[in-house]
Symmetry: C2
Subunit: 360 residues, 2 copies
């Protein structure tokens, strides 16, 4: 059933998507303000379930790509999104009637809302990851043979590119270098998909899930109950560490924010150390030298009292956090999918073990 | 007056263009074979003078971009050119009726002939440099405000890109990184221009000049007269050094072949040393530590007996060469043009002095 997304829903979606964003996906605050402003100007956005999308109608994802560390410095306008959208439509030569979000994460969950409001188009309740990932080919659509081509890019200066590649890994290579040249961040439109393709390949219900998470946190805060327990209930997640941030190494290289965070255990984890490595998103969590959670499962740090998710670019010495481990979508757990997003792709010589096997 | 370009004309054009190519523009041998094969298959190509092109008819340049050191390893097919051409036409939304060469230089003088034969389109007797230069914005059209957009690229694997930028220096940045990702070399189409624009902005008669140079060398060889004197007569050039190659430093970096060649003087230059620095093309010639020729004037090494031009990737220890300095086109000698192609752009803290002022 379709329903309308207004100011309050955007608040909840932005908050919940940042939990799913595993530290990446850009700053949720900027994205939220943009989406709410667009809704004030153009009215609420219709959110439709994938079942309501006819098999032969087309949708496209709209996002920002690049280093989140830089995105916070470059407050995005809205015209670049429209330009990227129009370029895909023009390349395809057929009308696109729906917008969708490529990933759950701060800015990339709300930019599609911004564009849907401006173009008065419905948003589909799904995404391409069920979380955030750093690279272009790390989209469930890719696992089902859907091409990212035409991949369109635009920057705030007025430069643009339309890329067509023989596979989605090549797209990552080409688009990343353009994004770096666009100033480490770019507006993109990609993975145009038919309704039939969305039914098979997407992660369904992600926008609603984000909203449910955000609402659960908000209500727990209002009721003075534990917001982190509220997140766990909705995501089937586990608290895998409780600690204080003692060191953050972060560098913007090759269009990514890469680095690691060190946490000193408190409470039940006193005496232990956790190391979290990230590439835009949190990839690996090691406790006292042993991996206890890894991609493609979700690893998110939330502030211990408020449950506020912390993005990799917000990490600061002294933060007291709970580290959550949450199971990823089943699409990511096949052997083929693990080649695309498993620990070994990111250079870690270890096998993936589902988080619930370690913590149930 | 239009005339037909056949097998013999391609021989002469390829040879003469390599003299104008100042060491760059790719291997003339591969380009010649490709163009001659296309002419055998599709018939001769019509060469028209710019005056014969209606003001409102469109033309586009076709070329290869990247490091010539890599081009020789990747024998180009012809389909990538056609793809790049079609992409420009599709972006512009109007028919393109003429092909032209963006630069004089081995492969980039003959690739347009190959495509013109395949598409049965006329080639215009002009180019965008009157020589070869390494970067996208170093085209006389750029000096007259003509945009390289839409700039289309294709590789032999099937990847492609369409770039639109706010100026032609940005295009160099974007296109170079894509070319690097395409394997250090790419097929491009760019600088679509109307007949009126070509009349104002291009270097006219370049294809004929190349042919005249090539023919002069060929006839001198046949008559056992001096082919280097024949080149000088046609180009108003000077022999600025006579020497033997003693060292070549060459590295493929950032999509360019960069390096320097050292020559030990022989004959009248015995006891002297010449250093020639290049970035795909020869940029600066220093004799005993003093600059005696520089961009934008042409610096070309030719084999001392045959007058055969030597590209930067062919340079080998022991070659005995004459170094020629030839005046560039007047478009390159304005203050604005020297900012684009003068010594200081390439990082040399020296002013440009026209070669004829030093040697007349």
């Amino acid at each position: 059933m379709s329903r309308m997304i207004g100011i309050q829903e955007v608040d909840d979606i932005a908050l919940g998507a940042a939990v799913l964003g595993t530290g990446g996906g850009g700053d949720p605050y900027i994205g939220k303000l943009m989406a709410q402003q667009s809704i004030r100007e153009h009215g609420p956005v219709e959110l439709v379930s994938v079942d309501e999308v006819p098999d032969d109608e087309w949708s496209v994802s709209i996002a920002m790509m690049g280093a989140p560390t830089v995105m916070v410095e470059k407050m995005p306008g809205g015209d670049e999104c429209v330009q990227a959208f129009n370029a895909v439509q023009s390349y395809l030569g057929k009308p696109i009637k729906y917008i969708y979000s490529i990933e759950a994460g701060g800015i990339n969950s709300t930019i599609p809302i911004t564009l849907a409001a401006r173009l008065r188009m419905p948003l589909i309740d799904l995404d391409g990851m069920g979380r955030a990932f750093p690279e272009i080919q790390m989209v469930t659509h890719n696992l089902f043979g859907i091409t990212a081509t035409p991949f369109t890019m635009a920057d705030e200066k007025g430069n643009s590119a339309v890329l067509a590649t023989i596979d989605n890994r090549w797209m990552e290579t080409f688009a990343r270098s353009i994004a770096v040249n666009m100033g480490a961040t770019a507006h993109i439109a990609c993975y145009a998909s038919s309704g039939a393709q969305q039914k098979e390949a997407a992660v369904h219900g992600t926008m609603s899930l984000a909203e449910t998470i955000g609402k659960a946190i908000r209500e727990a805060r209002a009721a003075h109950t534990n917001p982190i327990e509220a997140i766990q209930r909705v995501t089937n997640g586990f608290v895998i560490f409780h600690g204080k941030l003692t060191d953050v190494q972060r560098r913007t290289v090759a269009g990514f924010a890469r680095g690691e965070a060190l946490l000193e255990g408190i409470g039940a984890d006193a005496g232990s150390i956790m190391k979290i490595q990230f590439q835009n998103e949190n990839l690996m969590a090691e406790k006292d030298g042993t991996i206890i959670a890894s991609v493609p499962d979700l690893i998110t740090m939330v502030e211990e009292d408020t449950g506020e998710p912390i993005t990799t670019e917000q990490l600061r010495y002294g933060f007291r956090v709970m580290v959550l481990g949450m199971p990823c979508h089943r699409h990511w757990r096949t052997e083929a999918a693990l080649k695309v997003v498993g620990p070994r792709y990111f250079g870690y010589e270890t096998d993936y073990v589902p988080v619930e096997q370690r913590f149930s």
